[in-house]
Symmetry: C2
Subunit: 210 residues, 2 copies
Amino acid sequence: MPRAARVSQDQILAAAAAEFAERGFAGARVDRIARRARVNKAMLYYHFTSKQQLYRTLLRRSFTLASTRLRAIADGNAAPADKVRDAIAAFASLIREHAFLPSMMLREVADAGVHLDRETLAALAGVPRAFAAIVAEGVASGAFRDVDPLSAYLTIIAPVIFFHASAPIRQQLGAMHLMSGTAAADFVDHVQESVQRAFAPDRPLRRSTR
Amino acid sequence: MPRAARVSQDQILAAAAAEFAERGFAGARVDRIARRARVNKAMLYYHFTSKQQLYRTLLRRSFTLASTRLRAIADGNAAPADKVRDAIAAFASLIREHAFLPSMMLREVADAGVHLDRETLAALAGVPRAFAAIVAEGVASGAFRDVDPLSAYLTIIAPVIFFHASAPIRQQLGAMHLMSGTAAADFVDHVQESVQRAFAPDRPLRRSTR
DNA sequence: GTCTATACTTCGATAGAC
DNA sequence: GTCTATCGAAGTATAGAC
């Protein structure tokens, strides 16, 4: 692919990510995406079939990346508690790299996935699947109490996503003196610590040799 | 207010709640709201000034109700751990009564609160404020370890909202054999249990007399 | 209070020149 | 590959009869 085309495509994807995160699929305006990408609308439609395809491309890439990284952690040989710690850190890292993800995820969840095709939905499902493998391993080995893997996933991913996506509204409430602030790093620490305690078995085992 | 008007207004509010929850503010169509309410569009604009006012009215009512109930729990004389339990149960109850809330909250958080006026934002802020009072009391009395009240709130409200709002997409993933299911009651139990463990002090105190 | 009809605007997408 | 101009559909909101 020629360099110029690649540049345009990346500009469009970055602009679309920002627009979709801020406004959602229905609220996003193709004109605004083109303007933000500094290309005209016809150029956008030259590279991408439709608003929907642009949207799907963005999410599919992120889901695949998240899934790959999480699977690598799950397949490692660390203790389950450490894998969970690493998984939470991995979510936080991914969000730092793909700042549009939290907002887009909240919106797509609320939209029941209607904008996603089969392939993108499958990529999405790979994330909880990989995380659940970690939890199941920990439960089986006695490192965790008997927690439901999917519930465990949701109690972790929801706060992390929600915290990041809610930064703007929390900032606004802060400016109105209606809410105090919490730093992102402190929040991730809180989740890390809370999850370790929440998953710990009633009579903690001595860490087994591996 | 005449009975007929009241009926129309309630029909419109109920229809709007469903439409906004399914599609979000930008995706919601006034025509669809009117059709769902079985009134025509002019009737809707007779009772409500605009799509936006309808939206705000819905959320302000829910926020105020949530805030009132939570404040009642916070002001009670139960032990902090029990107040937290009651608060989580109260969130679950409110959601059962206002099924549109989880989805609308996710969307509004992603939208940074742009559709809300000052009054509605203040009502929203009352919810974490009331919950934080419970946590602060528990931390002060030694019933909880030193958790940040706002972080504590987010780690509870996010999973509860996310779980409910994600029911449709999880069901779809289940139908595609990409994810297994979890019952709502089981999930609330998981949150209850996890939070008690996450908040517990390192050396649990004997329950103090009051 | 309730309706039909429609004004006015904005959007996604495309045509066609270069 | 990139542009300007524009089409047709769909949206919010209102006018005005009853």
